[in-house]
Symmetry: C2
Subunit: 330 residues, 2 copies
């Protein structure tokens, strides 16, 4: 427990982040569907972070981080690397806080994410996801430009910001008079998972928390089973562009190894079925990586019968073309 007690961010850090985000981030709704409850024989509550500012939860951590920089740091600007959702979160937060932003993005990121990032006022630098290191490119560029790096997940301020989604889930469950038995979180680098785990286990120590990853990118599931961080092969492909981090973060894994019950894995086909379900029954636009937890629920990878299970729909940034293609594959 002494190890656990020394974990950062703390619950208080997350509450402080919630104060910074108050009136800036959207308090996204916790959505319930009669159809989904009927299919699972449980009570499923979906935190619709696709409705968050910039279309994903990433705005929370980005704003929490950049708002804590000094006036000089902000003036010199921020730099981030991201497949797209963190990029937009950083660009929007930087814009609100009058900081210039440079974003290093993979050249195969969805065009909507690249375009939106530019539209939010950031400069975009592209790299090849399969041959180049975004950390190396980003670190060199940040040094050259005197910019502060806003990491996608391995930073206590980022984790605290993402954890505010967990605080809201707890409050919204209380409003409904329920306490969740389990939480499912789509997982790339593990920042949202770590933040929400700290937020929810503080108030509800018995909650089971699972990260959900695409097949071939199940580094967290394997790392949790092994007790140590292992990498993805990166030879794999997945439709979940938001969940392709190479391995768990150092800080995030130090938290997640203590607080998670395990990791679930979903296939591209299961993810696409979940995107279609969200379209047809929830009337929400959810991107593939945003639908992984819903996919795990629909595919029966967690027992929901008689239980209250929360899941986070983490993002909705998907191109017309990809979305239409997924809808057509019925």
């Amino acid at each position: 427990m002494s190890d656990l007690e020394s974990l950062e961010p703390t619950f208080d850090d997350i509450e402080d982040a919630a104060e910074r985000l108050d009136g800036v981030a959207i308090r996204t709704p916790l959505i319930e569907s009669a159809e989904l409850n009927a299919r699972t024989n449980g009570r499923i509550l979906l935190k619709a972070e696709c409705l968050q500012r910039t279309g994903s939860f990433k705005f929370r951590g980005a704003y929490n981080t950049i708002s804590q920089l000094t006036a000089d740091e902000r003036k010199n600007g921020v730099l981030a690397w991201s497949s797209g959702n963190h990029a937009q979160g950083v660009a929007a937060a930087a814009g609100l806080l009058n900081a210039p932003a440079t974003i290093v993005m993979p050249s195969d990121a969805p065009t909507i994410k690249i375009e939106n990032t530019k539209h939010l006022g950031a400069e975009v630098v592209l790299y090849d996801r399969y041959t180049e290191s975004r950390e190396e490119i980003g670190t060199a560029l940040a040094e050259e430009r005197g910019m502060t790096i806003v990491r996608p997940y391995d930073d206590v301020r980022i984790i605290a910001g993402q954890g505010t989604a967990g605080l809201e889930i707890d409050e919204q469950c209380q409003d409904l008079g329920t306490e969740p038995d389990a939480l499912l979180v789509n997982c790339g680098g593990g920042g949202l998972t770590a933040g929400c785990s700290i937020a929810l286990t503080e108030v509800n120590p018995a909650i089971e928390i699972y990260c959900v990853e695409p097949a071939g990118f199940d580094d967290h599931a394997r790392s949790l089973a092994q007790g140590d961080r292992v990498e993805n092969s990166m030879d794999e492909r997945s439709i979940c562009d938001a969940l392709l981090a190479p391995k768990p973060g150092e800080i995030t894994f130090a938290i997640n190894r203590h607080l998670l019950s395990g990791g679930l894995t979903v296939t591209d086909e299961e993810v696409k079925a979940a995107v279609r379900f969200a379209f047809q029954h929830l009337k929400l636009v959810v991107e593939p990586g945003g639908a992984a937890s819903l996919a795990a629920i629909l595919a029966g990878k967690i027992d929901c019968k008689g239980r209250t299970v929360c899941a986070i729909l983490t993002g909705g940034n998907v191109t017309n073309e990809t979305f239409s293609k997924i809808l057509s594959e019925t």
Copy 2:
């Protein structure tokens, strides 16, 4: 004013409806988008009734009506005619209240609406929208079967139920510390418009309320201008299948002629652009008829500059094919 004071439903009727719907209908979120505010130079608040049970506001009125029937009436069942959203609302409400339901639907209604209505347990009877009268078919069938007719809009219980969306808009605006200058409501028969007008003018008499209709189906706009109910030619076609009622309802128009500031009209192209905007920026699935008010805002048909303008996204029941087709037309 004596004429106005005798209008039914009353504000109290709407509050009673809200009590009946408490815990059954979804309290849908009032959504704000930084992008939409920036485009309009105003504050736009969108009531997301596409997230309502059955994917449209229609569940409100249907449940409010059927829950007030006697045990015998419920046992004998209910009958409704509808292009699809009222059908699903009645089917779902009847199912929850253990009443058999028969629904008369146009044969060219979106297949998703017909399928969902059947899935909700109702019997569906099809008719030809352009050669047959749904009222005649439905009335004869209801008499034959001893069923109670649940009208789509021209009934005080229906209007009171739909008005609960207006009550929520008021409460949610208060939570945000704002008072709307204007409300835009997508309008078919005028039930939602009438209910929300009663709810909102009671608390905010200065509010401007506009109904929004598809070009060619602007019976309300013309009726309001003329001071008397006029019909649509019904030779027209529109992508807004939910908004094709032949003329304003008798009860709804008696209310709307007193409380509305006027009617706005939108083209199919403007509606499709709004559906795409909702997909890209709001991450919401909005059906064409559900996007008419947003279309009016985006097309500049109402001045939003420096004002708080509310609009209701009335539904999200659209087929994969139609949605994909609209997305592809960029």
